[in-house]
């Protein structure tokens, strides 16, 4: 379904050159869920945005369903890939009601039946009529994220990209959203690519997990392997250890920068 080959993204030039992503390649079969895990600056979000077609100057090939997509995507292709962003506070326009947020994609692609589509989308993500005309600041974080998911699904995409969808949410809300995503994936046969810094969250949703660091894909493993600690790359091991809570025996390291 998704094939990445040699995707690289560079920002700036000369002294300020930043290689956000370096030669990243992997495949995801239709219906699978792949997770990319790494710390900030690892390039995981950059790769996601490159697949989404949000980085015009990305290098390398992105092949979706057999067709290579150019960096500047035609409008039609937008219906296949959609994305849920990290910050529920930032991904919704502050002056638009939920109704307006959901109507926009319908209007852009001139789909009919706006009323039924909007109500269906709201019901699917567990929201109701009473949420339809609220502004984002009148919704909780979890509700905002549901709206973001509804917006992503209203165009009936085949691929759903998720950029740290639950990082900004409370634990209890995170569980609800993760359950929602699991259900939606099952009901719609979605192919998912999820990015997070939280190993447990990624392992919950995704079968295969890629570890990224410094723009490079270090290794590709599975949730089961991670759980058993069967990782080869030393950085992955470090990540695994750090995810397990405070370790008093670690001692303190001096830092220079």
């Amino acid at each position: 379904m998704i094939e990445l080959e040699g995707v690289s993204v560079t920002y700036g030039a000369g002294a300020t050159l930043v290689r956000a992503a370096r030669d990243v390649s992997f495949r995801i079969a239709a219906g699978d869920a792949l997770g990319l895990v790494g710390e900030s600056g690892s390039g995981k979000s950059t790769v996601l945005r490159a697949i989404a077609g949000l980085i015009p100057h990305a290098v390398g090939s992105v092949v979706i369903n057999g067709r290579e997509l150019p960096n500047r995507r035609p409008r039609e292709s937008r219906k296949i890939i959609q994305m849920v962003f990290q910050d529920p506070y930032g991904s919704l326009h502050p002056n638009q009601t939920v109704d307006q947020v959901l109507s926009a994609p319908i209007a852009i692609h001139r789909l009919g039946n706006a009323e039924s589509r909007i109500m269906a989308a709201l019901t699917e993500v567990g929201l109701g009529r009473e949420h339809r005309y609220r502004y984002p600041h009148q919704l909780s974080g979890g509700q905002r994220q549901r709206v973001a998911i509804a917006r992503a699904l209203i165009l009936e995409p085949k691929i759903l990209l998720l950029d740290e969808p639950t990082s900004a949410l409370d634990v209890s809300v995170q569980a609800e959203i993760l359950n929602l995503l699991t259900r939606l994936r099952r009901d719609h046969g979605l192919t998912m690519l999820m990015v997070s810094h939280d190993l447990a969250v990624i392992a919950h949703i995704c079968d295969r997990i890629g570890v990224m660091h410094g723009g490079r894909l270090l290794e590709m493993t599975t949730a089961a392997a991670l759980a058993e600690g069967r990782v080869t790359d030393p950085y992955s091991q470090q990540l695994l250890r750090a995810n397990q809570g405070f370790d008093a025996s670690g001692g303190v390291i001096d830092v220079a920068a």
Binding site: R49, A52, G53, L54, R73, R75, R78, K79, I81, Q82, M83, F85, Q86, D87, G90, S91, L92, H93, P94, N95, T97, D99, A104, P105, I108, H109, R129, E130, H131, R132, Y133, R134, Y135, Q138, S140, A148, R151, L155
Partner: protein, 309 residues
Amino acid sequence: MSAAGLRIGAPAGWRGWLLDPAPTSRRQARLGRWYRAWRGLYCNGLAMTGLVIVLALVLVAILAPLFADHTAAFTQTLQERLQPMSWAHPFGTDELGRDIYARVIFGSRITLTIVALVSAIVVPVGLGIGLPAGYFGGWIDAVLMRITDIFLAFPRLVLALAFAAALGPGIENAVIAISLTAWPPYARLARAETLTRRHAEFIEAAELQGASHLRILFTQIMPLSLPSVIIRLTLDMAGIILTAAGLGFLGLGAQPPAPEWGAMVSSGRQYLLDQWWVATIPGLAIFIVSLGFNLLGDGLRDVADSRAG
């Protein structure tokens, strides 16, 4: 919120309808938002004073014939010239025997016309240049900003004078002249606001949906830039009124016998010591209206800041 059900003492009635956290229609949602903003303004005494003054200006201008006699403003009665304030003439008469009160009332129409026309020109032009500059960046930004810089370099009154001198005196030309120099800061402001939001996630989301640039600019970015532009306009209004009055003072704005306040101040200059009311009353009118706009603008900015923060 987990403890949302703990609120004690929520309001009922139409206020409750407006403040309803679960609106059931687009209209209710929008009205509710306006109502909340209004309450922010309402708390601010000075802002309300400003609002009252501005509304008074609008009311007086529109309903001028109800407040004063049109003929009294224009009939020259030389026996009555330079009369002090009295019951017949609340603000006295000017050097041609015309009732100053009536002239101030009808002069408000000219002031309002200038205010409205300048706003109608400056806001769309400013947005039209600033929004694309901030959104597209690159050479579009460079070209548009250099054009803005050129106009910004002209001193307002001097350019207005030159323009009025070239095109001839009159209100329309005064308005054009003022607008030409007033729009650059709005373009800059719109551009700055756009740059702040350019990479926000909701913009990315819109791009991802396939929204065209025009759609994004109109439906997403412009609504966010509009409040600062409006506030800036309100605060600028005083300056615009004063510039118009200045032009009038120099004889380049509204032409006699139009009761333009600036022109009235000018013609009253020579009588300032003995018949002070001829120049001072219109001057006071200019002052009060400018103050009103300033207070209102400050209040609006406070409301906008508190909602953004």
